[in-house]
């Protein structure tokens, strides 16, 4: 699983997250509303996964290791976060 809830209560995104994981991520976020999302080990994430992050707007612990994620997706998420 590349999306998992750690024992500390953070939601970890690791490696390459495919579109299937979007549902799992959403469930985790619903179950633990204040959880931080840690995607420092994330190489790539399908749009569906990123979309959940946009909609949920959790605190995100980065930067992700994936180059494109770090360069484009992370700033984009930051720009979309409610101020």
């Amino acid at each position: 699983m590349t999306v998992r809830l750690t024992t500390e209560g953070t939601i970890e995104l690791e490696g390459s997250c495919s579109s299937d994981e979007a549902e799992a991520l959403l469930q985790h976020v619903l179950a633990t509303p204040n959880a931080t999302v840690d995607w420092r080990g994330c190489e790539a994430a399908h749009t569906a996964v990123v979309q959940v992050l946009m909609a949920a707007g959790p605190k995100i612990l980065g930067p992700p290791v994936g180059v494109r994620l770090e360069k484009w997706v992370q700033p984009m998420l930051a720009a979309n976060m409610p101020k």
Binding site: L25, T47, Q51, M54, W72, M76
Partner: protein
């Protein structure tokens, strides 16, 4: 919701359905005038309705599609599958809008949806001042809501754009509460700025679903968007172009400056400030260079632009003269030329025949005649090559239909799919390109229906959830190679064996002595199908024999390779051009026939005793291989029994990997002929692939070895 909106919703949905149905039909038959008419009217009515409820964005979007259809109706431009796709994409957007209206009870007002054409562009450029100077192309991409099901990853697509400078992503409609969020509906609008050229960006975004607007920025290129240039504006622009053509050194600067300012003004008055700015730049450039070229090119681009949601742009270096490098010619005229060239070839052969006769009769002119004939031969060969080159098309014209096919099948079957196409600019004769669609469709359908496992199975096998289908084309010598591969489960050999036995295609013994390759090849046998369930999508699965027949009829070959558990490859090897065939003439039963040279392995002369009887059949043993022998004259029902000669001439042929021997009376010569396909009375005769005219005026029937020996 007010009564107008209610009525608008009901009617619009009806018209969208009518238009969609019609478009799908038009995709297959683009010349169905009635259908084109009805689709045009549907769009026209949709536009009218949008006008009444004052839904400007929808009016504009539908208008663009209406222009495409209007062009097709008047015969100005053909309705290509890409354009049909654009119209369908427009309808997708309309549906999304209608859904929002239904839910909210009012017209959509969220930023992404009611955005005027240029607002997104201006905003994006404004919010990224640091890269503004380097931007050459901007795009706004709204993927279809169900794009995830089609295996698309819009973010990946956009973040991998060449020379990406800036990216902004926003929701199309405000995010619902997390409880009711559907993570598999795409609700994003992606806006990007790049330093790549418009055609690079266009190509990069090919095959996506949804809508994509691409604009060229500030390099003197003009992006043809939904141009609504009134005719007076066109007249004025045209007049400026004429004016520039008549500039003399004395009044040069004045002509350029006033023509440029006039063009700029016209564009501004028609609400195209972007284009006006570009013309202004072109004017400056022309004045600086003392050449009217830049400005003339700018104006020419404006006048030739067509409305569409997504179109290619000419590169900056294209001069107006470049347009003359291609000509549009009716296919019928090229075909007439090909026929004429064919007849020239026959005439050439006839002359060759006479030259030979002259030689045999010891005619003094024989030598000269032979020489002249060989010059003629060479020239005609060159002519033929040129003419056939005119009939050549890129495979793109048939391959570009497949993204939609794959998209729909993926949605219908619930199997996420990705289609990769490589080498679609590979060219082949028109006849080949046209005949390829059905066979390819069948193979792709088979792959998706039977080869690719369900998502659950794939997950269980540790395969990526999105299955991959690749179509690769390349030219190799005088052959065109086409390969369709999938990463499904490959061909189940055991099942093939079972079915072959069950359907009497092969016996247990046969199967035991067959190699894996041979067994896989059985899928091409008539009457074969391994579908556990005949699905509506792939039909009866018996099409593989039709595929092979179709391919071999034009002189190609098809084979299948399977890697158990990993996938299947289907390979086509097709001639680059169809028309010339090498044949060897043979005599049988007092008549002459042509045998395609590429079906002939060798010819042998064997003593009568070498022919063994095996039951009712006959065979010879050649280099330890048993080859069945057929008496050609008997097969063609020209005589009853085999003559009692002491020696037999046998032509060893190969078809689909199997060897066969044709016993003939004698062997003639090698000829290069243009094969005329069968028509009229001859069509029903089995075993004949076509006819050609010989030099002495006789008609030569060219045999279809495969059919003959079945």
């Amino acid at each position: 919701m007010n009564e107008f909106l209610t009525q608008f919703l009901i009617e619009s949905r009806e018209f969208v359905e009518q238009a969609t149905e019609g478009l799908l039909v038009l995709e297959q038959s683009p010349h169905d005038a009635e259908r084109l008419d009805s689709v045009f009217r549907a769009f026209h009515t949709l536009k009218g309705g949008a006008g009444i409820v004052e839904f400007a964005a929808m009016e504009r979007a539908v208008h663009a599609a209406e222009e495409i259809l209007s062009s097709a109706r008047s015969g100005k431009h053909a309705l290509t599958p890409t354009l049909v796709g654009d119209c369908l994409a427009c309808l997708d957007q309309v549906i999304r809008w209608l859904d929002v209206i239904e839910q909210t009870g009012e017209l959509p007002s969220s930023p992404a949806e009611s955005r005027a054409d240029d607002t997104w562009l201006a905003e994006m450029l404004d919010s990224n001042p640091d890269v503004r100077a380097r931007v050459t192309t901007a795009l706004q991409f709204i993927p279809a809501p169900d794009c995830f099901y089609q295996g698309e990853d819009p973010l990946a697509r956009v973040t991998s754009l060449p020379e990406l400078l800036a990216l902004e992503v926003e929701p199309v409609v405000a995010w619902p509460s997390l409880n009711s969020l559907d993570p598999y509906q795409c609700n994003l609008v992606l806006t990007a700025l790049t330093a790549a050229s418009m055609s690079e960006v266009t190509e990069h975004m090919q095959g996506h679903s949804g809508t994509c607007e691409i604009r060229a920025i500030g390099t003197g290129q003009i992006a043809p968007q939904d141009w609504v240039l009134p005719s007076q504006a066109r007249e004025i622009l045209s007049a400026q172009r004429d004016l520039l053509a008549h500039a003399t050194p004395a009044n040069f600067a004045g002509f350029i400056a006033s023509a440029g300012l006039t063009a700029e003004n016209v564009l501004r008055s028609c609400a195209h400030p972007e284009a006006a700015a570009i013309v202004a730049q072109a004017t400056q450039k022309s004045l600086a260079e003392s050449s009217s070229d830049s400005l003339r090119i700018s104006i020419a681009q404006l006048l030739s632009s067509k409305p569409a949601a997504l179109t290619e742009n000419a590169r900056p270096s294209v001069k107006p003269e470049a347009a003359a490098q291609t000509l549009r010619i009716e296919a019928a005229r090229v075909d007439a030329l090909v026929r004429l060239t064919g007849e020239l070839t026959v005439a050439k052969n006839a002359a060759g025949h006479v030259a030979k006769l002259a030689q045999e009769e010891g005619n003094a002119l024989a030598g000269v005649l032979k020489e002249r004939h060989s010059v003629l031969s060479r020239l005609i060969a060159e002519l033929q090559e040129s003419v056939l080159a005119m009939r050549v098309l890129p495979l793109r014209s048939v391959l570009q239909r497949f993204p939609r096919v794959v998209r729909e099948m993926s949605a219908n079957l619930g199997k996420p799919l990705k289609l990769e196409i490589e080498g679609d600019d590979t060219e082949a004769d028109k006849a080949i390109v046209e005949m390829l669609f059905e066979p390819l469709l069948h193979i792709v359908r088979n792959a998706i229906d039977h080869g690719i496992e369900s998502p659950a199975d794939r997950a269980a096998r540790g395969k990526p959830s999105t299955a991959r289908i690749q179509i690769r084309a390349a030219r190799q010598g005088d052959q065109v190679l086409l390969e369709i591969s999938d990463d499904g489960g490959g061909i189940d050999l055991e099942r093939v064996r079972e079915v072959a036995k069950a359907r009497g295609i092969a016996t247990e013994e046969d199967l035991r002595s067959m190699s894996e390759t041979d067994i896989i090849d059985l899928v091409f046998a008539a009457g074969f199908s391994t579908a556990a369930k005949v699905t509506e999508l792939s039909g009866r699965g018996v099409g593989m024999d039709a595929v092979r027949t179709a391919v071999e009829r034009i002189g190609g070959r098809v084979s299948v390779e399977s890697r158990a558990g990993h996938g299947t490859n289907v390979r086509f090897s097709l001639p680059f051009s169809v028309m010339m065939t090498d044949v060897m003439t043979v005599e049988a039963g007092g008549q002459m026939f042509g045998v395609p040279l590429d079906a002939i392995v060798e010819t042998v002369s064997v003593p009568k005793t070498a022919i063994k009887g095996i039951g009712a059949a006959q065979a010879i043993v050649l280099r330890n291989r048993t080859i069945p022998v057929f008496d050609l004259a008997s097969v063609l029902a020209l005589r009853e029994a085999t003559p009692n000669d002491t020696a037999a001439t046998i032509v060893i042929t190969t078809m689909a990997g199997h060897l066969g021997g044709l016993r003939v009376d004698c062997i003639g010569e090698r000829l290069e002929v243009i094969l005329k396909p069968l028509d009229g009375l001859l069509t029903g005769i089995p075993g004949i692939t076509g006819t050609t005219l010989l030099g002495d005026g006789r008609v030569l029937l060219v045999l279809d070895i495969g059919e003959l020996l079945q």
